[in-house]
């Protein structure tokens, strides 16, 4: 009897168990996936657009930090780090350098410009006021004391 009961319970447990559990929660997506969903892929052919994309991605990270369960001091510290990185992205020299790097790579693929042309210099440099010397060479290294 006991055995039967036990068997019955066991069977019931097996059949009811799935019904008692809540439906499985969807797996939390990674930060990378969420950023890609919100902002799209990182622009790789336009450095200025890439810098803007990075700033928006940092804003997503910042909102994560705000919603997190970190204590206030830790949150503040993390937000300051993010703000610092955003400020670096806005630095005019860095932005310009990124753009120049891209332009430099393009320019190297283009035909080189001829540059200015030299002219024959057969004319004498002796003028009425006297000869105009040609200056060239390294200045002598002298001890100053």
């Amino acid at each position: 009897m006991a055995k039967r009961t036990s068997t019955r319970r066991s069977a019931a447990r097996r059949s009811r168990a799935p019904a008692k559990r809540s439906p499985p929660a969807p797996a939390k997506r990674s930060l990378r996936e969420r950023i890609q969903q919100q902002l799209g892929d990182t622009p790789i052919d336009d450095s200025l657009a890439a810098a803007t994309w990075m700033q928006r991605a940092l804003a997503v990270v910042a909102s994560d930090v705000v919603d997190s369960e970190l204590d206030d001091d830790k949150k503040r510290s993390e937000i300051l780090k993010i703000a610092d990185r955003m400020a670096k992205l806005r630095d005019i020299d860095r932005l310009h350098q990124a753009e120049q790097t891209l332009r430099g790579a393009r320019a190297q693929q283009e035909e080189a410009r001829p540059g200015p042309q030299m002219t024959d210099d057969a004319t004498s440099l002796d003028t009425a006021a006297g000869e105009v010397p040609t200056r060239r060479g390294r200045p002598p290294r002298r001890a100053l004391s």
Binding site: P116, M118, D121, T123, T127, T134, R136, S145
Partner: protein, 377 residues
Amino acid sequence: MRSQLDAAVRHDERYLDLQIKFVRYKSGTPIARYGGRWDRRAKAFVGDASRSMVFEIHGAQVEAILLFDKWLDEHYRGPDPEVLARVREIIEQNLAFDAELGALLGMSELFLTGGRRSGKTFLMEAILCSYAVAVPGAIVWTVVPPEKFLEEPRKVIADDIMPTAWYEYNGSPEFTFYLVNGSQHVLLSGHKPTSLKKGKAALVGLNEAQQIRAESYRNARGATVDAGGFSIVAANPPVAGDIGTWVLEAATQIEMNDRPAAEHVFVDPLLNPHADPRKLLALKSSMTLHDWETQVRGRMLQLPDRVLYTWDRGVNERPAPDFGRITREFLTAWEGDRARWDKLIVIDVQRFPWVAVGIFDIYRDPRAPADPKSGLL
């Protein structure tokens, strides 16, 4: 691919004409010549070149090239030991500068000011490139406001001054012209003053210096000390909003003989044969008088938010007369001794442009030196 092949051919040639010549516009009279025939194998000049980059220069540009040529001649000869001893003594004893000492110091600053299209940038780059060409292994800098200003000097150098056979240019992030004789012409941003503390250069040129901080200029000048070089400042007169108002102060100091070892050359756009004066005049109707005088004519005037907006310190200020200052005696004679009179203050209350206040001193009248009620304002 083609440019690589060209470069390979260039590097196979043993000799290269590496020479710059300056001549007067129209007359063609030679002014100066730098460089020569460069031997890649011996890494040395072997006489004059048969071809040159020839630049025709006008009016004030000639004056600047002659100043550079004189400085380079002295640079090759080296400093006089007696002068060095005298300078050390002045530094140790903290003695004041005088005109005699200023003449002994040589040139350590060259200010090129003028209006738009006067040819300042070309002139500055031509001097920097001439030094880099003449002195193998030299380093020269062009400093600009933020990096976005690098394009103008790069174009001037690559399109107008140096043939492509003379250099390799690597673009970002070094922005350096590597010359065949081992010299380097580096383009730098002056946006962050601290970035100019590193490195040495024989010559340093600041383009659009009215938009560069004084701290950046101070740091850039420091780079020239070891080589005994000098700095070149190419600038428009500063206007409201420019951070480089030090240019105005410096140019005024030079005009008043109060800045030893500095030279100021005014490059007049009207003398630039490549600028159409009709187009310059056409700008006038769309400008304020101050903008016209400063940005086109190139006059170093005070900033326009001042009452005395056409005051030119170099023209309108002179040293005080040596007759003796009697401000207190004069005012006491007229007003009594109720107060300690130090200055005479004059106020001109006007609706436009603003209320003007002048602080005056009284000097003894040489025609009546004993009369305290008589004086010169």
